[in-house]
Subunit: 344 residues, 4 copies
């Protein structure tokens, strides 16, 4: 459903062209300083707005804190953030109602909800919802301040040459087309031991939320798919000291689903924006006949551009949840209880 | 934790060298025929046992049904399956207690649990646990009999040439090394509409459980990472009729997280088995000094070989859960309630 | 945490004197007609406002639907309702900050959250939060329209004479005191079979949410505590026809945690409002010395008065959740699958 | 479903006359000493077996630990306990298959599961399942060793005179009848602050699991239903020192759903055993006609007798879960972060 997380738990709501979208973050520890300014940087990163590949829709995205903060600190109550929807131009989408956009959720949403879904701007399936993820990510980051997160594009439209990214996106936009891209997210400072067996491994939790970001079609950790092409002797991370430092980080900071203290490295593949102005074939649900459509409106030519901060927020949320879960277990182990791993 | 799923929900337990491993499957609809023979085929697929790349450990893996079945049919009560651990040779592992195996969970498990974890054969982090996933997968498949699942290796050690797979694995085994591989799983017959927004998309649920399989480092759907290298005009799946049929399936049967009726296509990357007999560097936790180890015992030279049936079971479990969830919603929409998608 | 329910799932947020309180209802089937007017009746029932025993705080409680409704019907997306907080007079409470009110959450909240909790009007522990429950209850009732719910006071201040209730409350209010009361809620039209084993029985789910209502200290079903004083021959409900009709309803419509088709009967005990203007002993947390306080502000002299509609909403929410859960199982049983109960 | 708890989480499985019943306890901290002997005392308390009011069925109930314990300590992996079913006499029940027992789950279970439920001895609706609760309770108690739990009968068949209990039960048994009873459970040493808002209050969690015990029809805390007959000035618990000590404990150790450091006091009402040998009216599902039955087999004349240790286990499980949850929050508040409650 629209809730993710076990102990640090977020619930998103809203639709692209409704009154507002928002997120409720439950399980936030009390005593964390939080102001609306804290959201500004990541909201601005997501908004982009300048470059060629990003929709000119003006989203001010001032985070309106409804609950859970008192005199500048979190209270232990759920924190609800509202983000108003301004500058919606639903008329852009009206023409598409009977002609579902290829590779969009228009048809699946209508099928699932018997036609009752809100079709305006993709409704709750819109990329607009990622603003709620970014807002929740800000709170997650403040919950685990020891972790340093960063994210950036490592590939756009098949090229890994960062000097070409802007040009590739511009060219696609000019051609009424779009391109995909790959984002790499790194989390340094993760405490060894975070991650729960069996199903709530770091990879399971992080991929779960990453795949909820619209347009994500692949997730890998460390060497990822590259590890499948390798040998054990090349891929294994040799351990070089008693704290678990390793010579390489092909495992992306995770063994057996549990953080090993190295940087968590996750890569997320975004498909090309499905909304393109070039003509595409779809079906007219009223006539039952195929039809060619060209999608107007404002769209990113490369959703991976905004995707970096969203995927970073997603990883932050997963880690905040696993951090709080590990703590409840950790405190049960006092110093003199620590067992000799050799079992003697 | 050790539970996955919302409405069709599995809980695994056990350790590699303990008395038994097992799984409790809750939410199984009443009235499904189920006998211990139903488990035989998939258990045999997982066991392998013949080829060079698979450990010779004899796991008979007779599924012992403890509960939830009466006179050959499921009763609506939780189904618990026990799989005894026979032929365990813990002595193989004793030498490794103070020298954690590189790229294994030995060190993270010890860190997380203060040394109290069961180290024998990797304890609950062992690939042995995948037998419980396979058993649960059998029940999942019988819950959604309309879905036809298949899985196979599409790449081993970097080669996509299936005629070379056996040779690549044999050569790695002979060299005391191991290789990775990629498994592709297909699910045909999935009802359009399965999948829940926002966080419980088909991809989110399927990747969550797939990443809990030991050794999995990457998951992708449809064109996956390849989509990131493509353009919208090439990657979009043109809709060719009113039932949602598409000319291509780059989206892997999923739009906006919701199944569109096409085959679900998932690929899972397995890293090379970390247990290799070639010498590797690790640290001796007693002395604090680095040390070179060679791992004896019986190990698969390519865990992806067994991984196919396990990943197929994982996808079946995720789909069974989403199928039951969709049903509760579906029945609320009676025929004459179905809205005109055009909103008129 | 602040979420209840499995398939029909509500999340509440807000504080008594913050900007707003609200509730997100997830899992609402698409296609249910819902307008802001639908909330008016139950909101008015909760508000009370006329009688002596109810606080004169003016809560307009217009339900502001933020999401999940489009053109008058639910869309399948989460429905978020905001209720603004108007007419808050925080100054009433400031005097109490260092002197926690007896039998209130002031001290436990401060202990739990290290003093960071929002103390104004009880923060998230306020009876104000029950407006969110009532709003969610309205949606729950529309989800299970076949069920007819009613609730009423059966006892006030120890008297079961309904003609005396108003007088008892008035007298208590005049004396600066308060009284408790018992609410009985009935749900007719519940489908036999709702309720999940083992832990999610009708009683377990209904009591879980009922005990989250501030001031509730007891919950019973059917004969309840009275059954403990009875004998099997008197308490058993004789079955009088094949549809399961019973001569009596001492079990309150539930056997083995599963609805049997009779009316569900739940009684909820509310303690007297702890806020009273009569002097009480507490401790001054600044001085560490005991102190006598008299609580000003506006308070209900009998929270059970408003409690009826709140407890009714709570039962509706629990039943909506169990109804949707039962449906997912039900649809797996087609007519010719129905087994002969005699097992022949 | 068959799972209870959020961080300390139990899953029960099995049927009265199947191979075994059992419980998986997940979230148990590593490093707790646990042997099969630890279960003996509570298992014996539940078994009873001597007195007139308890069924002579011989349940040896040796707790067979399948997983999660290594060299005498919990490992952090799920602990699964199996309890074999010996001495089952299913033939006792066969005569009842077409004549559902009044006030039992026979008819509701058959309705819910379309006749596929296991009817032998009540299947999963049997009181036999409470042995799994008791086993899980043993682990819960070892997880919160600072808490001292006790439970005892406070009323049998309407009498509060403990010297009469044995006689009342004997007389009912001799008459082929049964009686109800009330159990009071106390938990001393609970840390102030346990309990989660809004829905996971101590009362909500404890009542949820208590109402899953077969035969429970009422739950109250502190003054409970008695509080509804009282006034604020009499019912409020005056605070007598800065640690929160109170002059009375009408709130049963809980304010706003959060433990206040006083003893938690819960009372649980058990209805009379519905299985009685006196003649009762039911319906014959084959003929559709009413019929008179007398229930043979072995049955407790007062299930409240065994209910004490079961309800105590239930409270222990709820508290263990809340304790682990509170810890994850607690550790986020370091000493110098503790806020001045007065907000200065």
């Amino acid at each position: 459903m629209n809730t993710f997380g076990h102990t640090f738990r977020i619930t998103v709501f809203g639709e692209s062209h409704g009154k507002a979208i928002g997120v409720t973050v439950d399980g936030v520890p009390a005593g964390i300083s939080l102001s609306e300014d804290d959201f500004a940087t990541d909201m601005a990163r997501r908004r982009g707005g300048a470059g060629r590949g990003v929709t000119p829709r003006a989203e001010t995205d001032r985070a309106n804190t409804i609950s859970g903060v008192y005199r500048g600190f979190t209270t232990g109550a759920p924190v609800t953030i509202l983000l108003e929807n301004a500058d919606t131009r639903s008329e852009d989408y009206y023409a598409l109602k009977s002609t579902p956009r290829p590779s969009h959720a228009d048809l699946t949403a209508s099928t699932k909800y018997g036609g009752y879904n809100d079709p305006r701007g993709g409704g709750m399936f819109s990329g607009r919802m990622t603003a709620a993820i970014v807002a929740a990510g800000v709170i997650a980051k403040k919950t685990i301040p020891e972790v340093r997160l960063s994210a950036g594009l490592v590939s756009v439209g098949g090229s890994a040459d960062k000097t070409k990214f802007a040009e590739i996106v511009s060219r696609a936009a000019a051609a009424g087309d779009s391109v995909g891209g790959i984002v790499e997210i790194r989390a340094e400072g993760v405490t060894a031991g975070w991650g729960e067996p069996f199903f709530d491994s770091v990879e399971s939790m992080a991929s779960h939320i990453a795949f909820s970001i619209p347009g994500v079609k692949g997730v890998e950790f460390g060497a990822g798919f590259g590890a499948a092409n390798s040998t054990g002797s090349n891929n294994n991370d040799a351990i070089t000291d008693a704290s678990g430092t390793t010579a390489t980080n092909h495992d992306g900071g995770i063994n057996g689903g549990i953080a090993n203290g190295n940087a968590i490295v996750m890569r997320v593949a975004f498909k090309p924006t499905p909304s393109i102005s070039r003509p595409q074939q779809t079906v007219n649900l009223e006539t039952g006949l195929t039809e060619t459509i060209a999608i107007g409106g404002r769209h990113d030519a490369c959703i991976a551009l905004r995707g970096a901060v969203v995927a970073e927020a997603a990883l932050a949320i997963a880690l905040a949840d696993l951090a709080l879960r590990d703590r409840s277990r950790r405190t049960a182990l006092v110093a003199d209880d620590i067992h000799d791993i050799t079992g003697r």
